[in-house]
Subunit: 222 residues, 2 copies
């Protein structure tokens, strides 16, 4: 089963690597990290690069398409090369998926029109401009289109996908192999649970960080 994960400068590493760690363990999985131009793609922190080994044009019809989020999505919202690839891959995919603000790219490609969809909790409303109905659920299944909420939610989404594709036992085996028995030291992982002042702080910091990222010129090779 061919799985394409889109990379671009300014993506969030865990958005991509969480689902990769689950989906790569699916029997017969062939994960391909793809980009407009192959090569190292740098995360939004500029402290880590993952390598896209393949060009998007060389992976036109993956069975699973996964679009991670990150501030860099905003630079791609009008990029017809990327959006066209998503649109065409979606025509033949078995699953079209996103993590975090990756759903903005699915939306811009027209995939979410009329569907419920999720994104990072800071900015779900942006999905409306693409005809989607925003929700803050962690994993949203709409037929073959599956969107996940912020960053770490891609792990949960990928386990749901595996259970749909290969059954509950395979999903449980993969959960066990990555020892995904979460024990966060706090119960502050959603805006409904975190202290109110922390929710406001994170919202402000996220908006500032996005502005700082977008103030930088687009890098060559996307």
């Amino acid at each position: 089963m061919q799985i394409a994960i889109l990379l671009y400068d300014g993506f969030t590493a865990l958005d991509a690597v969480g689902p990769y760690e689950v989906l790569s363990r699916l029997p017969g999985a062939e994960v391909r990290f793809v980009a407009v131009e192959p090569g190292p793609k740098t995360t939004e922190t500029h402290m880590l690069s993952l390598v896209a080994d393949h060009a998007i044009e060389d992976v036109p019809s993956p069975e699973i398409l996964l679009v991670p989020g990150g501030f860099g999505t905003r630079r791609l919202l009008g990029d017809e090369q990327v959006l066209g690839w998503i649109r065409r891959a979606h025509e033949t995919s078995q699953w079209t998926t996103s993590v975090c603000t990756g759903s903005l790219l699915l939306g811009a490609a027209g995939v979410l029109n009329g569907l419920r969809a999720t994104s990072h909790w800071v900015s779900p409303e942006r999905l409306r401009e693409f005809g989607a109905e925003p929700t803050l659920e962690r994993v949203v299944e709409q037929g073959k289109v599956v969107t996940a909420a912020g960053v770490s939610s891609g792990i949960d989404m990928a386990l749901v996908l595996v259970s749909r594709i290969a059954g509950d036992q395979v999903a449980q085996a993969i959960q066990l192999s990555i020892e995904y028995d979460p024990q966060p030291p706090f119960d502050a992982g959603s805006p409904a649970k975190a202290p109110k002042e922390i929710v406001e702080l994170v919202r402000i910091l996220a908006e500032q960080a996005e502005e700082a990222e977008l103030a930088q010129p687009a890098e060559p090779g996307r």
Copy 2:
């Protein structure tokens, strides 16, 4: 605060990227991915490479040292260049940490002698040969030495570290920013919780996968 994350061929991506995603958001964090020879390092699935931008010799005294696991650890257990770097970095570090079988490298470097430590649940007993007392707890703090269990546990460990370094509010803010409100579709993430037949299956598959990995010759550049 300088944070060094060791990369090598045959590491597990989420072991490194889970903690990176948390620790890189610590105010003032400077995360450096390091390797014996800088360049792309390939995960144990051979489907993804992360770039080590720095040589270990150029990052001799990070405040936080983090060693991820993966089958490739086994090839490094006698590698004095790597073990010596860990040993010397540990002398001046504020925190010396590992995820999954990364604890085997801390052990081989002599860091775990006399300490309780954890690893992936398939093989905790291997820690005994390094004088450590194995446990299956998810995050084990022994002074400045902190070990985490399999793969995904590095996220929990990193949040614990942030709370120690910068306080509970910063840790909660980071947890919220990565929306770490885990909702796995199954409760099968530890050998105590998963169905017994799945525990045995994963154990056998892990042993087979390790043998297959180690049957391959070591790659140049580690």
